[in-house]
Amino acid sequence: MSSYDFTPIPLNRRRRPTSRRFLVIVVLVSSMVLTLLGRLYYVQLLEKDKPTQTSGLLHDAAIVVPAPRGVIVDSTGAPLVDNTSVQVLTVSYDTLQQRPDHGAAVLAALADLLDTSASALAAEITPCSPKVPAPCWTGEPYQPVPVAANVPSSVVFAVGEHREQFPGVAIETESLADYPGGSLASHVLGYTSQITAADKKKDPSLSDSDQIGVSGLEESYDSILRGVDGKQVVQLSPQGYSVGAGSYTAPTQGDTLVTSINAKVQKLAESSLAQQIKDSRAAGKPATSGAVVVMDPQTGRVIAAASYPTYDPQEFVGGISDADYAKLTAPSANDPLLSRAIAGQYAPGSTFKLITSSSLLTHKEINTTSDYPCPGSVTIDGRVKTNYDSEVLGNINLENALGYSCDTFFYEPEANEYYRDQARVAKGEKPLEYLQAMAADYGVGSSPGIDLPAGEQAAGSYADRETRLARWNANKTQYCADAKSGFPDDKNAADRAYLTELAKENCTDGWRYRAGDNADMAIGQGETTMSPLQLAVAYSALVNGGRIWEPTIGWAEVNAAGKVVKTIKPTLRDRVPVKQSYLNYIANSLNFSRGWAVSGAFAYLGVPYKNEIGGKTGTAEVFGKADTSWLATWGPIVKTKTGAVSAKFVVVGMVEQAGTGATAAGPMLKRIWDGLLGYKQPAVIKGSQPATTLPKLKPQVQVSGK
């Protein structure tokens, strides 16, 4: 710019502008003016379909009134999950704005009552906008803003009695879940959570304030428990301020879920489990966890399902805090959220001999009249397999083999079964795998189909040729790589050598299913696992004529008027292909009247009801851990007209790392049988038998938002 010459232009050289340049400008400006006038004329007078306001001057909006969730009751009608109402104080921003002082006086008086400041309240209720930073109200301006929950009754009365002093302030009732039994049956009940964006995508009818079941019965029966939200219609000005109230639709509370759980039996199971954990620990065992299942074998309905450790579902009400959740999921907490009774799977040990015996008898590999050897040890494929404590019992029949829980008795026929199958494979035929087939018939390896979320029930497992090969195909590269590298990261030389040897074997022979594997499975070891619930289903088949139930907990859906909307019928999945006479033989062999020392009967020697029940212990060895203690029992035994052994309850117990079945699970289940059968106490369940009729429920008193 420095090159510019700023001296004034001499005036005498000023030049008139050429008219051509001006003409261009004038034409441009004039055409703009004419265009505007023309278009305006068209828009206002000529246009045929003039645009019109379709929304009306007022439009309606709805405030969602959340429906209280349905309650869950036990088989006697006693609540397991109940509703409790809390008083919530709300302030309407709209109403306050219409006051001459914009509600300053109301907020000041309210702040006094609630022990807060008027400015904090004002900030809380002012709708958020680019000019209003947080804290602010994220909802619509016409929605009353909840400013205090669980307000003391003094505040409720103060606001209620001086309504004229508190325009726009209201006390509303909100319903929250309540657990009268504390942590009772928490794993079965589950919990709810505020809905997420993903939930809303799945079901657009959900409103943002809805709670949704995310675990246990709360999840699997969410649709009947949730109810239907009500709504308060408000009329809005075009700016979104409410100018009047419209219709009100009351919410409909969710229906009641009646379950087959008996709260008293459940409580007894939980306390006996906790007691056993304490006792086993006192006896020097780790006893890290345990589970109990009480089932009606004739219907597959679950009467109790206890797991230890447990948690308090109350922590999840209104949203669990991050700190509390971290505490529950910390490694030191030992996974209290896991429902071990249903979702845990463990080696069943000798309790599995029910299935092995069924298979051997059914396929005539042994019979009930002959004796077979029970040596202290047998050698299979060059490996020595011993009895528990290497006991030598000579030649015995199946009844004694079950009673004394002889392992070697079962090794030989199952090893022979394996060799016969190998011969078939060598001829290019399919192996028969009788034991695996029988395990599958008893429900091992498939989800039990209980009415809980699919992810909260264990399927159990067993090994066979096909799965062994599939696993090897999936992992052989890793096995062979490990065999080559020799685990250089492992500092312990002995471990390194063992792991390398194992990897070498897996690399070359990992696909091979061996005779020893079949022998392991015969006594519920190796890769065989079951959940306590699955074991209860299997033993139910023993005393119900061979029926495999899909267990159920839900029994009926009852509406607010107390009327049964739907009875939930258990599903019969299958029948085990075992003759009733064999089932009778096995059940009779294990009757506690025999007083087998190694069976659970030991704990029941002195009780009068000893002859009415039977059971089978299990002591499962787990690599690197103390033994898992199992006991599966049934009773009180009745003979049906056809002579079949039948029972009213199946009770299965498991304590991890607690020693033999007789020492831990034995006394644990005895306390439960004492209660069920009313030994030295009134029976905890009416008539010492599962409930057969639904409880009568009173019509509910509606808890709602208004």
Binding site: Y4, F6, I9, L45, Q53
Partner: protein, 394 residues
């Protein structure tokens, strides 16, 4: 007394208004121009009041708040106009480059400390609820800057068209603020800057091949800008809603649709002041600023709208009249200002009645808003100053 230089003496370095003969001072004022501007501003006050009364009351505010602030803005703008009219034209030649540089600095400041309103990063917040939009003042800065460039560079070859060098220099001067405003992105202001510059170029007598070339180049750049995604999403949506007005009535086209409902309500005579349901209902967003014309359309009908357009026509007529009589610098400035007002009014009213795509631009003198009102006041003052100066020279 003879030793004192008279204001009319050509030898005087700067003419001062003090001591001017009374005859000149009287004639140095274009009453029609001022009256048209004042009439527009007062119409604006009524329209702003009508647009904000009910909505403010419903929101719990003072129903007359916008009116009061608008009247204060008018007073300040009037003051600025009087001050600017006192500036001598030769003073403007000196301050022209300064104004231009200040404008560019203001735009730069927006990038550093600016705030975003309605999608454009075009504002500097001064605190206490005051915001300045430097692009409004840039319009005047660019016009005067260009005018000074052409008049100073061409001082010795006035009868010939500007040289290629002059035009290229001018294009650089135009491109700098234009680019910065585009980046904000404030498409409306960019279009006004381009229109005003175009007017100055034509008035400066650039050759026809330049004019045609520039128009072609603009079209090309516009296509490139759309294709390469330089426009913000909201701007593209507005263009899309302009070409497909029935699509997305709740989204991008909502504003225009609501404004057109309001205007269609008006008919020949309008619904009457304060009786427009669309206006009172607050259906038209930004109705006191960019969509103020829709208030006139609804409550005063075709007649009211035509009166506003007529007032703008008068404004342009008087501005061009001043330009015809002014010296070269004044002429270029006056044409630039007229093109500014004319194009901005056309663009604004055009988008209200569905003739132009929506870009955030106020209606000159009418819309609520301080920055634009003050810049227009200054421009009006400059026009009056040019007139007074050229009369003084006759």
């Amino acid at each position: 007394m003879s030793s004192v230089l008279s204001a009319r003496d050509p030898r005087a370095p700067f003419s001062l208004t003090l001591g001017e003969p009374a005859r000149v001072r009287r004639r140095g004022f274009d009453g029609v121009l001022a009256a048209a501007a004042l009439a527009l501003a007062l119409c604006g006050a009524v329209l702003v009041w009508a647009a904000t009364r009910d909505v403010s009351r419903a929101a719990g505010g003072n129903p007359n708040g916008f009116l009061y602030r608008h009247l204060v803005n008018i007073l300040i703008a009037g003051g600025l106009a009087v001050l600017a009219s006192r500036l001598d034209l030769r003073m403007l030649r000196v301050t022209g480059p300064v104004l231009y540089v200040l404008g560019v600095l203001g735009l730069l400041a927006v990038f550093a400390v600016g705030s975003t309103i309605n999608g454009a990063h075009a504002w500097i917040t001064l605190g206490a609820g005051f915001e300045v939009q430097p692009s409004e003042f840039m319009k005047l800065g660019l016009i005067i800057g260009l005018a000074v460039l052409f008049s100073v560079r061409a001082r010795h070859r006035e009868h010939l068209p500007p040289t290629t060098g002059d035009v290229l220099l001018a294009l650089i001067l135009i491109a700098l603020p234009l680019g910065m405003v585009m980046l904000q992105p404030d498409l409306g202001s960019a279009m006004v800057l381009a229109a005003a510059s175009f007017g100055v170029l034509i008035a400066a007598g650039v050759r026809a091949r330049w004019t045609i070339g520039l128009i072609l180049a603009t079209v090309l750049v516009a296509i490139l800008v759309v294709k390469t995604g330089m426009l913000a999403d909201y701007q593209l949506a507005r263009f899309a809603s302009f070409t497909h007005p029935d699509k997305d009535l709740q989204g991008a086209a909502y504003n225009v649709h609501q404004a057109q409902i309001a205007i269609a309500n008006g008919g020949l005579f309008g619904t009457g002041l304060f009786h427009g349901p669309q206006t009172n209902g607050g259906f038209v967003p930004e109705q006191q600023t960019d969509f103020v014309f829709s208030v006139a359309g609804e409550e005063f009908g075709l007649l009211g709208g035509a009166v506003l357009i007529a007032l703008f026509a008068v404004l342009c007529w008087r501005g061009l009249r001043i330009a015809r009589r002014a010296d070269r610098t004044g002429q270029l400035i006056a044409v630039g200002i007229v093109c500014w007002f004319a194009f901005q009014a056309f663009q604004n009213i055009g988008m209200n009645i569905g003739l132009m795509p929506v870009t955030g631009l106020p209606l000159p003198f009418v819309s609520y808003g301080g920055s634009s009102m003050f810049a227009q006041g200054l421009a009006l003052g400059v026009l009056e100053g040019i007139r007074r100066h050229s009369l003084a020279e006759d």
